[in-house]
C-alpha cells in the first residue's frame, strides 16, 4: 500500500443557520425572552422566519477520501460545495463536527493572498514573519531567503513596506515563501488568480517540480480548469458537501462542468434555456437534433448531420448562423460558419453536415449563434444557446492522434502541402 499523506474519515462540519455571526449577548437574551413570551423575535429581519433548533447547514457531509504522498490532487466544485471548508479543516483552522482527519507531515497553507503579511513591515521582515507563521525556523528561512526573493521577482522592493506593494507583488512574494517551505503537504486555494500569466505558469511549474521531485503532496483548489488540468493528476469533485467523483482529472472536470455528453440525447431543446441579454431574440433558436445517429458519439473523422429549428418574427432580416465549438473545460476550440439562412416568418428549419476530422477525440459542447453583421463589422446578435454536446472516439483513422497530449490543444489543423521534396 502506498503511503498516505492525508486521510479524511467520515468528516462532517455543521454550521447553525442564522444563530451565529454578529450576535451580541443582549441580542441573544432578547431573542430568548421573546421566544419564552411567544412573541416575534425582535432581532429577525422582516419577512425572515424564525429558525428552529434543527435549522442546520452541513457544509461538509460525511466526507471521506485519501490523498497519497507525493500526489498533486485538485479539489473542484461549484461555490458552496465545501471546498474551502474542507481545506480549513485540513489546515486545522477550525475543527470538524464529526469525524477525524489524519495528517502525515507539516502543512503549508495558502488559503488567501498574503496570509499573515503585515502592511507596515517590509518585504524582508514579512518573509521571515510569514515563514515563521507557516512553521519555519529563522535558520531555515535564512538559508532559503535568496531563493525566495529571486523566485518572487520583487528583489528591488524587498525593503519597502508591504503596503506599498501591488496585489500582484504580494501574491508573488506569498507564493514564493509558501512554495519554498520544507513542508510535506501544500494547500493552495485560488492563489494564482491574481498573478500575471507568466507568473502563473512559473508557479505551476514550481508546484509540479515540488510534487514530482521533492515528493510533496499538493492540494489545489481552483476554478481555473486549465491550471487544474496541467497540475493535477487526480481530482476530487465536491458537491453539496459530498464527494461525487474521485479520479482522473479530465473526467472530473467533465463532471464538474455538468457535461452530460454521455446521457445519449441527440435532441437538444433550447427553447427554454437562459439567454444572454445581448441577444434580441427576433430569431429564436428552438432546437437542434442530430439526424443520422442515435447517440451523440462519433468516431474520429466521421461526419454527422443535424437539423436546427428556429422561429423568426420577420422575413426581411439577413440571418446567419455560426457554431462555436468548446472543449470540455469550456475553452473555445474554434468557430464554424454556416452561412446565411433562408427564412420565413414563423418556424424554420435547416440541415447541415458537420465534419469532425478537425477535432481530436474528446468531449465537446457547441454554442449556436444566430446573428447578422454588416460590412463595417457591426454585429447584431439574435440568439445564442448551448445546443449540442457530443464526444469523439478514437478510430483507425485517428492513429496519428494516439499519442495526443493535452497541451497540443483540441483542433487538428489542415496538413501542410508539400511543394518540394
Amino acid at each position: 500500500m502506498e503511503e498516505l499523506a492525508i486521510k479524511v474519515e467520515n468528516v462532517s462540519k455543521e454550521y447553525r443557520l442564522g444563530a451565529i455571526g454578529g450576535a451580541t449577548l443582549k441580542g441573544e437574551i432578547q431573542s430568548k425572552i421573546a421566544k419564552l413570551r411567544k412573541k416575534e423575535d425582535p432581532n429577525l429581519k422582516i419577512g425572515e422566519k424564525a429558525h428552529g433548533k434543527n435549522e442546520r447547514f452541513l457544509a461538509i457531509d460525511d466526507m471521506s477520501f485519501d490523498v497519497k504522498k507525493g500526489e498533486a490532487i485538485g479539489i473542484i466544485g461549484h461555490n458552496g460545495a465545501g471546498k474551502s471548508t474542507i481545506l480549513k479543516l485540513i489546515c486545522r483552522v477550525t475543527t470538524p463536527t464529526k469525524g477525524n482527519i489524519y495528517l502525515n507531515g507539516r502543512i503549508t497553507s495558502m488559503l488567501e493572498v498574503g496570509t499573515g503579511f503585515h502592511p507596515e513591515l517590509t518585504g524582508r521582515e514579512n518573509v521571515y514573519l510569514n515563514g515563521a507563521i507557516l512553521g519555519m525556523s529563522k535558520a531555515e528561512i535564512d538559508e532559503k531567503f535568496d531563493e525566495i526573493v529571486e523566485f518572487s521577482e520583487v528583489a528591488q522592493f524587498i525593503d519597502t513596506p508591504i503596503k506599498r506593494y501591488s496585489s500582484g507583488m504580494k501574491v508573488k512574494l506569498a507564493f514564493a515563501v509558501a512554495s519554498h517551505l520544507d513542508s510535506e503537504i501544500m494547500i493552495m486555494d485560488e492563489v494564482l488568480a491574481v498573478g500575471d500569466v507568466n507568473f502563473q505558469n512559473k508557479c505551476i511549474e514550481r508546484m509540479k517540480k515540488v510534487a514530482t521531485e521533492e515528493g510533496r503532496t499538493i492540494l489545489y483548489v481552483s476554478h481555473n480548469m486549465a491550471t487544474v488540468k496541467s497540475l493535477c493528476n487526480r481530482c476530487i469533485v465536491l458537491s453539496k458537501g459530498k464527494v461525487i467523483f474521485e479520479g482522473a482529472t479530465e473526467e472530473a472536470i467533465a463532471i464538474y462542468m455538468k457535461n452530460e455528453a454521455l446521457d445519449d440525447t441527440t435532441f437538444f431543446d433550447t427553447s427554454k434555456a437562459e439567454r444572454h441579454r445581448k441577444c434580441n431574440l427576433r430569431h429564436l433558436l428552438q432546437s437542434l437534433e442530430i439526424l443520422n445517429k442515435d447517440r451523440p458519439q462519433f468516431e474520429y473523422g466521421e461526419k454527422f448531420t443535424f437539423r436546427t429549428k428556429w422561429i423568426s418574427d420577420n422575413n426581411d432580416e439577413v440571418l446567419k448562423m455560426k457554431l462555436i465549438v468548446n472543449s470540455i473545460d469550456a475553452s473555445p476550440v474554434g468557430v464554424v460558419f454556416c452561412g446565411e439562412l433562408n427564412h420565413e416568418k414563423g418556424e424554420n428549419i435547416a440541415e447541415f453536415t458537420f465534419d469532425t476530422s478537425y477535432l481530436v477525440p474528446g468531449k465537446y459542447t457547441v454554442d449556436v449563434i444566430l446573428y447578422d453583421n454588416d460590412e463595417a463589422g457591426n454585429v447584431m446578435f439574435y440568439d445564442r444557446a448551448t445546443a449540442l454536446r457530443f464526444s469523439i472516439e478514437h478510430s483507425d483513422e485517428s492513429v496519428k492522434l494516439k499519442h495526443w497530449f493535452k497541451d497540443w490543444g483540441n483542433a487538428v489543423l489542415p496538413c501542410v502541402e508539400k511543394i518540394r521534396d
Partner: protein
Amino acid sequence: MAEQKWTTVVKSENKILDVDIKGLKNCKDLIFLFVRRSFVAKYKQTVLGPAWAIIQPFFTTVVYSVFFGNIAGLGASGVPNFIFYLSGTIIWTLFASCLTETSHTFTGNAGILGKVYFPRLVMPISTAISQFIGFFIQFAFMLCFLVFYCVTGAGVKPNLFIALTPLVLIQLALLGMGFGMIVSALTTKYRDLTMIVGFGVTLWSYCSPVAYDMFSRSQLMPGSALYSIYMLNPVTPAINLFRYAFLGSGEVDWLFYTISWVTTIAVAVVGALMFSKSEKTFMDTV
C-alpha cells in the same frame, strides 16, 4: 503492509485539558517575530518613535501629581508625589496593556488565524512579551528619577526587595494575559465584552492604589474594615511590593501577596483553557 504513521490528527471531539504545549515549544522564532512585528509596526511612521513609550506615562504622572496629589491631597506620605505616581503608572500600564492587547487576540487577528494554523497561545504570549519592551523603556526612565531623588535625599529608600521585581512583573503579565485570554475567548461570540474592557480597566485602576496612596487613607489602612476586601484585588499587593522595593513607601502584606499569586495562577490557567477551547472553533463564530 507498513503501518501508516500520522503526525497530526484533527479530531472532532476534544478534551477540556487540551492545550497545545508541545507545539508551543517549537515556536520560539515565531514568538520573537511577533514581538518584533508589534514593536516595529507600532512606531512605524511616527516621528518620535519609541519615545512615545515615555511621553504617555510622563504626562499621566504629571496630571496625577497635580490633580490627585496636590489638589485632591491623595498623594503619598514620605516620598515625592512624582516618583510615587510614576512607579504606580508604569506598573499599572504593564498590567493594563497586557490585558487589553491580549483581549483583542481573536477579533484583531481573525485574518491570519483564519487561514493558517500555529499554536494559538503564541499570540497572547507574544503580545504580553511585547508589552515588556515599552515597560522597560519606562522603567529606565523611572530609574533616572529614582537616582535623582536618592541623591537629593527626598525620603526615597530603595531596598533589597528590588530583587523580587521580576516576580512582580511576571505576576502582572500573567494576570493581564489571563484576563485578556478569558475576554478574548468570550468575545469571539459576544462583542459586548470588548466594550467593557475599555472602561473596565480604567475603573479597575481606581480600585487599585495607582492614583492615590492607600496607606495614607484611613479607610484603607491595614486593620480597617475595607482593607481585607481591598487587598483581594490581585493587582494591589503586587503594586505595593513594587513601590515598597523601589521607594520604601507603604508596606507589604505577605499573606495577601501570596493570595494574589494564587489568584494569578488560577486566572492564567482558566484563561489558557478557555482560550484553547475557543481557538478550535472561533473561526465559525468570530
